[in-house]
């Protein structure tokens, strides 16, 4: 068990910088998820922590020691790979005990640790099977078992659920969370799936183009994104971005979306945005769940407007509605009983208490 720190870590491949200076402090016992689109440097970062990639610049510390030049086997880490990477010629027990056998642990202790890990992962019955006799989910459990028996300082997961089907993925996600609650080992987990990131992480690190966009708890990222990238990446369906500008009208600050739609900002928001130049090109960021059907009694800060729906998607517990605002496609989430129909007019309510205002050029959330 140990904390992990990255200091200005850079990875260059020839002329390309895959990772461009990352600072990250991971506390002991913490579950950190690195998330981002493919090519954002998250896997490279993980592999640098593992020691499978050299770092071009900066420092990586595990448990306070700089490990830049320490080979993987001496870093006391364990890694779970996307394609499981089980040794095909060994049984489950042999797979799990391989690392311990290399380190010449006493036989009795190896057996005890393997039995304990197998019990924890509910694979006791499979212990004598070969990997090819196992299903995908079982293989992934064995891969986790191989990590657990070593009792390492840090667990590293490289997209461990991406090869599983959707249903199994949800199930294994819960398993991983349970295992972490039991063993409490510091964990770094890489995924491109923001749902996995949100559900598993103590803190999520959103990466883009080799840099960290934002670090925060799942709630922080969801409700207080720092940049347009984070705002758009976290949440499904994604946040809407609607071009807008601020204007003063009769002593109140208003936000104008189209020629005919403009809303007065709630007082708290008005105070926050009042200092902004009125000429700035801005984006209104609003999540679909804050665009709902209109009610008779509206809370303060909720404004209504009329629109014509393009497409509706009934999801069962909700219906997604799509429409355009001056050519910008917008998605809303309404009650399935609200009567939303393809091509029909509808009155929608926008909850401006949950709005975000972004600078269109810099992408920064204001």
């Amino acid at each position: 068990m140990a904390d992990v720190s990255l200091r200005k870590v850079i990875k260059r491949y020839d002329d390309v910088e895959a990772v461009r200076g990352i600072d990250l402090d991971i506390a002991d016992h913490e579950f950190i998820v690195l998330v981002g689109p493919s090519g954002c440097g998250k896997s490279t970062t993980l592999r640098m922590i593992a020691g499978l990639e050299d770092i071009s610049d900066g420092d990586i510390m595990i448990g306070g020691d700089v490990v830049n030049d320490v080979p993987p086997k001496d870093r006391d880490i364990a890694m779970v790979f996307q394609n499981y990477a089980l040794y095909p010629h060994m049984t489950v027990a042999e797979n799990m005990s391989f690392g311990l056998r290399l380190k010449h642990y006493p036989k009795a202790e190896i057996k005890a640790r393997v039995t304990e890990a197998a019990r924890l992962l509910d694979i006791t019955d499979l212990i004598d099977r070969k990997p090819k006799q196992l299903s995908g989910g079982q293989r992934q459990r064995v891969a986790m078992g191989r990590a657990i028996v070593r009792n390492p300082k840090v667990f590293l997961f490289d997209e461990p659920l991406s090869n599983l089907d959707a249903k199994l993925r949800v199930q294994m996600r819960i398993e991983i969370k349970k295992v972490h609650q039991k063993v409490r080992t510091t964990t770094v987990y890489v995924t491109h799936d923001q749902v996995e990131a949100m559900t598993l992480a103590d803190r999520v690190v959103v990466m883009n183009k080799g840099r960290i966009e934002q670090i925060g708890t799942p709630n922080e990222l969801y409700h207080k994104p720092a940049t347009r990238f984070v705002a758009g990446f976290i949440g499904s369906p994604a946040m809407n971005f609607i071009p807008c500008r601020l204007e003063d009208a009769a002593g109140t600050l208003r936000i104008r979306l189209t020629d005919r739609i403009a809303f007065a900002l709630p007082p708290a928001r008005a105070a926050r945005y009042n200092a902004l130049p009125r000429s700035d090109k801005l984006l209104l960021g609003i999540r679909p769940e804050h665009l709902t059907e209109s009610h008779a009694h509206l809370d303060p800060g909720v404004e209504t407007f009329d629109t014509v729906l393009d497409v509706t998607e009934p999801m069962g517990m909700e219906t997604l509605v799509y429409f355009g605002l001056d050519g910008t496609p917008v998605c809303g989430r309404v009650n399935p009983n609200a009567g939303a129909k393809d091509g029909a007019p509808m009155r929608l309510a926008m909850d401006l208490n949950n709005m975000h205002l972004l600078n269109e050029e810099t992408g920064v959330v204001l």
């Binding site: 890694m79 790979f81 990477a85 095909p88 690392g99 070593r150």
Partner: protein
């Protein structure tokens, strides 16, 4: 192979153009398989027939495809001849040593070329294969000269000693076996050695405990290849060994059983058949591995 063919032929569905196409494809493949089987099996069958005849019957103008007075005298004579057993022994010991030497060189070489990316490793891998393409008929004169120079300089006699072939044959077997195994090692997922490294394995442990067991089919294919090449090699032993007691089987049979223009056909055929037996037996046991190994090397290399 035969079980696969039966599996495919088994379900005979009436409808669907797919199954009809497949039935025709099967008929054609059987037609050509039978054709090739006849083509390739005729010589050994003829050898077997001839080996069972006496010299008198071979030269008699009877039906060459039938044995009228079968006799095992050729077999008895060869198997009781010290000379023939000596050839057999020479061939065996050379082939076994060559296989071992080849594996000791090829496996680490292939592992290094497939996994340790160093400057020029890709070029080197191609270079290894190109060496294999140089025919032995081009190499034997310079090799002969080299051994002569070695003898002049050091006084170590290698020419006309059976063990010289243990040094010569690997020039044929090592490049090809390395090449097969590069392909095979390259087809092992990178994560497997990364997992081993993280588990604390050294390069050598990764090779011995992960790569060799996982790539065993390829290894067996390479072993069979090395053995067959050594066993069947004709030109090098013909050039490098001359004394009767130093000869290997293929050369020994032709040198001792052809006297001037007198061909002792019965014994030649018997010797050839007996000589073909060891590779045949090895193939029969390891056939499935051999095919799996060759195709993996072919697609990935």
């Amino acid at each position: 192979m035969s079980t696969m063919a039966i599996d495919k032929a088994g379900p005979t569905r009436k409808l669907g153009s797919m199954s009809r196409d497949r039935a025709w494809a099967l008929r054609w493949s059987y037609f050509f398989l039978v054709l090739f089987a006849i083509f390739f099996l005729t010589p050994p069958v003829y050898m077997l027939i001839t080996s069972l005849k006496s010299s008198a019957e071979i030269s008699a103008a009877t039906n060459p495809w039938w044995v009228f007075h079968p006799t095992l005298s050729n077999y008895v004579e060869l198997l009781t001849s010290n000379q023939f057993l000596r050839f057999f022994w020479n061939s065996s010991i050379i082939s076994i040593v060559v296989v071992i030497v080849t594996m000791i060189i090829s496996i680490p070489a292939a592992f290094a070329l497939a996994r340790m990316k160093f400057w020029g490793s890709a070029t080197l891998a191609t270079g290894v294969f190109l060496t294999y393409l140089i025919p032995d008929s081009l190499l034997f004169i310079p090799l002969f000269k080299m051994l002569g120079v070695v003898q002049d300089l050091t006084g170590i006699t290698l020419l006309n000693r059976w063990y010289v072939l243990v040094f010569i044959y690997p020039t044929l077997t090592v490049p090809f076996c390395t090449w097969i195994m590069i392909g095979y090692f390259a087809s092992i997922p990178k994560e497997l050695d990364e997992a081993a490294i993280i588990d604390g394995a050294s390069w050598l442990q990764t090779l011995l405990r992960i790569f060799i067991p996982v790539a065993l089919p390829g290894l067996i294919a390479a072993t069979i290849f090395a053995f067959t090449v050594s066993w069947a090699q004709f030109l090098y032993p013909l050039v490098f060994t001359t004394s009767i007691d130093q000869l290997v089987l293929p050369v020994g049979i032709t040198t001792t059983l052809i006297k001037g223009d007198v061909f002792n056909w019965g014994q030649i055929m018997t010797g050839a058949l007996l000589g073909a037996a060891p590779p045949l037996i090895i193939y029969a046991f390891l056939m499935d591995y051999y095919i799996a190994g060759l195709t993996a090397g072919a697609t990935k290399g």
